[in-house]
Symmetry: C2
């Protein structure tokens, strides 16, 4: 709950995918603070009793329900929706899955797999991974966006110019996000909450976790943004960086291939060093490893680096 | 100078490009500590009196001389060369250039441009940019590598599996780098020292700065690395992150295009906000802005984000 919010949007006001003809769940004035009950990306199909068999049985027609849409009075195409991310009310349950056909190393990891997480929603202390790992948490909403102008129904999976399934780890409490508005009222929705994720979300899922979210929605008239942008309130990796990083690289003429090389080498390194099943190492690094582009100018070869925070095991 | 080094490799022992027939400047036992006098990437063609006209006149046959090579006794193909980066002795002078035809936004910035930097090599206090900016410094060697097995002479510009022009910002003091050895003796060289760089090195140059480097060279026998990897001693962005970041994004099916979008939007944002010439903003962000891959799995669109540290202007 949120004592100083103007509105609560209950979890029953969800939709699948994006469509600018969806009826608003609420109309609000610019400057309103709104409390959203958000579903996890399985839409409740997975629980603390789930197994890898439940990954194989997922109904993909029901993934990633988002809560909304909110019609912001006066929003017009060309404006930016200014979303101040005020806070999260996490649930304490989470899951990470390898979903066949999805993820950066889908060719290497073809079988469904599941990691379950339990964490203290009050302290957000690092969540245990196996006997020796602990993954630092930083909640955020994986899917946050407004309706596209293009008519029809659009899949929730790809992010777009108007946001959506951005999966940007630093859209956490204190960050201010600006989204390009394409339709009258903006039609804002949010969901797919994550307790932790590394840059890249390399296995395709984060620590997926149902959570409530408090946001302030405001307008910047005629901002003419090309793409989403955001401002963080402070540092973004201090929950991860205290012990330094192990880093693998991919060097070559294709950034995607470089990212695959770097992640595959890290999975091999961690699986060997900590005696992990490779698919478990793959799911782990998706929750806390960061993909960075070290150089993108030394023709014809670029360097993509994958940073694993040693604090997880130290 | 280095009072506890085993060898000093003077700056006259440099070479252009890579060739495994180059005569070693020194043969050393594994575990040796070596002090290298390194040139900047212009090989001394630029100085504190240079102008953009000197960028147009650069002799590209003489760029990026590296100091070496060092033959490490007992190194064989399949081993890893373990390079412990002990420290830097910076010069206090630096430059950043937009070189026509080179850099992520080469199509947008076709004219030569030059930024000159002066910094205190003892304190490494942030270096002034214009009237209001200050760029935090963290020295590293942009080019660090061993000779490739492939016969012949190879350009210094692209990095390779054996390292070279990696331009990885976090190869700074305290980091341990592992390089795949492809020829007997490894034939290690280093140069292209930078006082500061953002991940991506987006304009094509960093704060290019002549500097001396102390490294310990050791072997890991039969390591069978596929690509370079490294371990950092601690956090990697705390010199940048205290005030948070402004972040622009590029959303779409191509990582390279996404990176270009994100960087172009940041250049426009900073040029507008701080009344900068766009090419000056472009050179600035190359020294301190970080390219990250926020998600690489939400088919068919990926998100590349460009992080500009607000501490530069706050």
């Amino acid at each position: 709950m949120c004592s100083n919010c103007d509105y609560t949007i209950h979890g029953r006001h969800f939709h699948y995918g994006w469509d600018n003809t969806f009826e608003p769940a609420q109309r609000v004035a610019p400057g309103s603070t709104v409390f959203f009950e958000c579903h996890d990306s399985s839409g409740g199909q997975l629980s603390a009793k789930s197994t890898a068999a439940d990954i194989a049985a997922l109904d993909f027609g029901k993934i990633n329900p988002v809560t909304g849409p909110i019609h912001v009075e006066g929003a017009e195409p060309g404006d930016a929706l200014k979303v101040t991310i005020e806070g999260f009310e996490p649930s304490g349950f989470g899951w990470t899955a390898n979903i066949p056909g999805f993820g950066l190393l889908a060719e290497d990891f073809k079988d469904p797999a599941l990691t379950l997480w339990s964490y203290d929603p009050a302290t957000l202390a690092p969540s245990a991974f196996g006997a020796h790992g602990r993954v630092p948490l930083k909640p955020f909403a994986g899917t946050i966006g407004v309706a596209p102008a293009e008519p029809g129904h659009h899949s929730v999976v790809p992010p777009r110019r108007v946001g959506g399934n951005l999966d940007i780890r630093d859209l956490s409490a204190g960050t201010v996000l600006y989204l390009p508005v394409e339709v009258a009222g903006a039609l804002f929705s949010v969901g797919d909450t994550h307790a932790a994720q590394g840059d890249g979300e390399v296995c395709g899922t984060a620590i997926e976790s149902p959570m409530n979210v408090t946001l302030k929605l405001d307008l910047v008239k005629d901002a003419r943004l090309r793409m989403p942008r955001f401002s963080t309130a402070g540092p973004v990796t201090r929950h991860l960086d205290a012990k330094g990083y192990e880093v693998t690289t991919g060097v070559g003429p294709d950034l995607m291939a470089g990212a695959r090389h770097a992640v595959a080498d890290m999975v091999e390194l961690l699986a060997g060093r900590y005696n992990l099943n490779p698919v478990d190492a793959y799911m782990l690094v998706s929750t806390c490893g960061d993909l960075r582009i070290s150089e993108i100018v030394d023709m014809p070869n670029w360097v993509v680096s994958f940073y694993f925070p040693r604090i997880v095991f130290e």
